[in-house]
Amino acid sequence: MSESFLRLIDVTKRYGERVILDSVSLEVAAGEFVALLGPSGCGKTTALRLIAGLETPDAGEVWIEDKRVATGGHNLAPPRARCIGFVFQDLALWPHLTIAGSLDFVLTCAKVPKRERAGRITEVLRLMRIERFAGSHPGQLSGGEQQRAALARALIGRPRLLLLDEPMSSLDADLKTDLLKELTGLQRSLGITALYVTHDQSEARTVAHRIISMREGRIEQAWVADETANEFVTQLEHKKTELV
């Protein structure tokens, strides 16, 4: 792996009295696929939103590439300046725009010349295998197709960092397996840095180079997602069962 692409340094985030992230530090290397694993409410989604600039950290710093984008109490770069692709848990596809229209909106915001846009849109729709839905609205698509459309929207701007917030949580097991494989292949071939939030350990193992587990706003463990890691995860599951 190359040097750090994304760094969180002692990041803390509170909602009122409640501490959501408690002095969290983590690093993601360029081209690395990291899964943030943890139960609901452990702060993993908040971490993702802080990286995207959708929330402001109360303390600590966020660095993307060599640029400090947020520091205690301030976002130094707005979300649009961070070159990020984001797939939301509920996908957040714009219901009033067609799939091609959504992609065009992203490219327009990025000031991509009009003559280039059509080619870029076709390219990403083909990559996600949803060319035939270019003129469809999100409501006309199945769950899997919507998933692909959300990923297409996240990728069309050629982001340096892809953030995924439990994007497969509403899909059935078979479809999820297929899409996870595709996502992994896509990330490896594009060489894009990715951070994937999930509470599902098998999902994390399927997609990630490295897994970071979180609990109650803190980083608990980090390990490489190979056979040894599998054993560790199994032990963790046992521990959880005992606790329950």
């Binding site: 959708l54 979300p79 649009r80 509920d90 957040a92 009033h96 909106f105 915001c109 701007g157």
Partner: protein, 542 residues
């Protein structure tokens, strides 16, 4: 006999369920009381002089110069009011939904008040301000504004100051429904102003458009303000034809274009907002806050100005016109019968409206067939029918020998007018409330052995109590201020407070009229304030 035939012959008769019987009775009552007047008017519109089918009325509308003038002024009144009220109301709705304003709950409640004060009271106040003998003329010693006050523009501004809360509430509700994720996804690629223009506004546009149509219909059907400000439109001409010239045929013919315009607007509303009409609630991810920065003071100032023009100034002027508190006491004494009639009729009317609407709303919320779209359409279209058209329709239906005639001669016809006008809107409010209830709570009662009637009374109604209270207050306020239909159907010698105020304006000292208007406004504002204080959340739902 074939096997199939035998099976049919042996199939036992199944009694309809209690639910089917009760809901069917409610539907029949709705059709008889609320839909028939409109159908009657529609039938009349399609009948020629010989009673056969004819499109003469519609042809006449396009060819007759007077009808064309009325069509133009009525349309301008509707379009102008819809445009101005939306220009005032939509930004306010966005501010209430997203901006960090102080005392937001109070502001929302205060900004809703102009909607519930009958428009003719606002019209009266503006006459006392800008009329030829108004406050401004008295202060400056010469008539400054009367030519403007008594004009189509004056009517548009007065009605806009009464109806802007509709655009405000629609915009606020829609802005709250937009998931923050949809906007955040856009913020990742574009600046906030572009997100507002390309994502937020298109998502709330259908609701704003629907409120534009609703305001258009209400302005079109408004009778009091154009009547007071001497603006000839269809509603005032219908009243003149019937009440002054005793020409029922002319009144009916004049009501036809209104009906056509209202039906068209009603259908447009249904097409625009569809299922969202009975969907309440907010997005699970609250929308992005509107950061005003240096504009905050300006926004607060704008809200203050709207409150001053639509509420503070009119009520103050009415109070100034009254002069002394004894005049209110005197006005109450001389109009005690009309006041008592209004309070009694509005109370009974609101209760009857809610009794019928709760069944209709429940039936609509639980409907699984495609008919529910048609039901929504009927609710909207019936609500859109102008008050004077309802009045003429009721006269045509009930003014005949026998039992209908006896009802027509009694105060019961006023209650029927209230039902005909306000059951649809109450049913829509209650359908939205009923939809929030999980079907499983009724299924649990059924499994426990409760019949539908018991389940409805013990499980459904208690859970709907907040919605019922809100809908009752809305129905009371509307019924208490109803003028257009009541002025036509009131039995001789009987009147309600709005009818009395309207008929007193021409020949009674302004202090007495203002005293009654102020008292009527107070009677309406007090329950709304109570609803605001004790019914937290219900005001949002309205």
């Amino acid at each position: 006999m074939s096997t199939a035939a035998t099976a049919i012959a042996r199939r036992p008769f199944i009694w309809p369920s209690a639910r089917a019987i009760v809901l069917s009775i409610a539907a029949i009552l709705f059709v008889a009381l609320c839909v028939l007047p409109t159908l009657y008017m529609l039938g009349v519109s399609l009948a020629g002089a010989d009673g056969g089918f004819s499109l003469d009325n519609y042809r006449h509308l396009l060819t007759d110069a007077r009808q064309r003038d009325l069509l133009l002024s009525s349309s301008l009144l509707g379009i102008g009011t819809a445009a101005l009220a939306t220009i005032i109301g939509a930004p306010l709705g966005l501010l209430l939904a997203r901006a960090d304003l102080p005392a937001k709950r109070f502001l929302r409640l205060a900004l809703v008040v102009p909607l519930v004060i009958p428009p003719y009271i606002l019209g009266l106040a503006w006459i006392y301000i800008g009329g030829s003998a108004g406050l401004l003329a008295r202060v400056y010693g010469r008539d400054l504004l009367s030519s403007w006050t008594y004009s189509l523009t004056g009517a548009v501004i007065t009605l806009s100051l009464g109806f802007f809360p509709l655009a405000m509430l629609a915009t606020e509700a829609a802005a709250r429904r937009v998931s923050a994720h949809l906007e955040e996804a856009a913020l990742l690629v574009g600046p906030p102003h572009r997100v507002l223009r390309r994502i937020t506004l298109p998502l709330i546009a259908p609701s704003i458009a629907a409120s534009i149509f609703i305001i258009f219909v209400l302005a079109l059907s408004e009778f009091g303000v154009p009547g007071l400000l001497r603006v000839p439109v269809f509603t005032t001409e219908v009243f003149t034809a019937f009440a002054a010239l005793y020409d029922f045929g002319a009144a009916t013919a004049l009501a036809v274009p209104l009906l056509v315009l209202a039906l068209t607007a009603g259908i447009a509303v249904k097409l625009l907002i569809g299922e969202r009409m009975i969907t309440t609630g907010r997005s699970t991810h609250a929308g992005l806050p509107l950061l005003l920065g240096g504009w905050r003071a300006l926004a607060i100032g704008a809200v203050g100005l709207v409150l001053f023009l639509s509420l503070g100034l009119p009520l103050t002027v009415l109070a100034v016109e009254v002069g002394r508190i004894e005049r209110i006491v005197s006005a109450i004494k001389t109009s005690s019968e009309a006041i008592a009639n209004s309070l009694l009729l509005a109370t009974i009317g609101a209760t009857l409206i809610i009794a019928l609407a709760v069944l209709l709303g429940y039936g609509r919320a639980r409907a699984r067939t495609r008919l529910r779209g048609l039901v929504d359409l009927v609710f909207i279209v019936v609500f859109a029918v102008p008050s004077t058209v309802v009045g003429i329709g009721l006269i045509g239906l009930w003014n005949r020998p026998g039992l209908p005639g006896e009802i027509y001669k009694s105060m019961a016809i006023i209650l029927i007018a209230y039902l005909a006008r306000f059951v649809p809107v109450a049913a829509l409010i209650l359908a939205a409330s009923a939809r929030q209830l999980p079907v499983s709570s009724e299924e649990a009662a059924e499994v426990a052995g409760a019949g539908w009637l018991r389940s409805f009374a013990r499980i459904v109604l208690p859970q709907l109590r907040n919605g019922l209270a809100a809908a009752w207050v809305v129905a009371f306020i509307f019924a208490f201020g109803e003028l257009g239909a009541t002025v036509l159907v009131s039995p001789p010698g009987e009147s309600t407070l709005p009818v009395r105020i309207y008929t007193m304006i021409a020949n009674t000292p302004s202090s007495e009229v203002a005293a009654l208007a102020l008292m009527q406004a107070s009677i309406i504002i007090i329950p709304l304030a109570l609803l605001g204080v004790f019914g937290r959340g219900q005001v949002d739902r309205l």
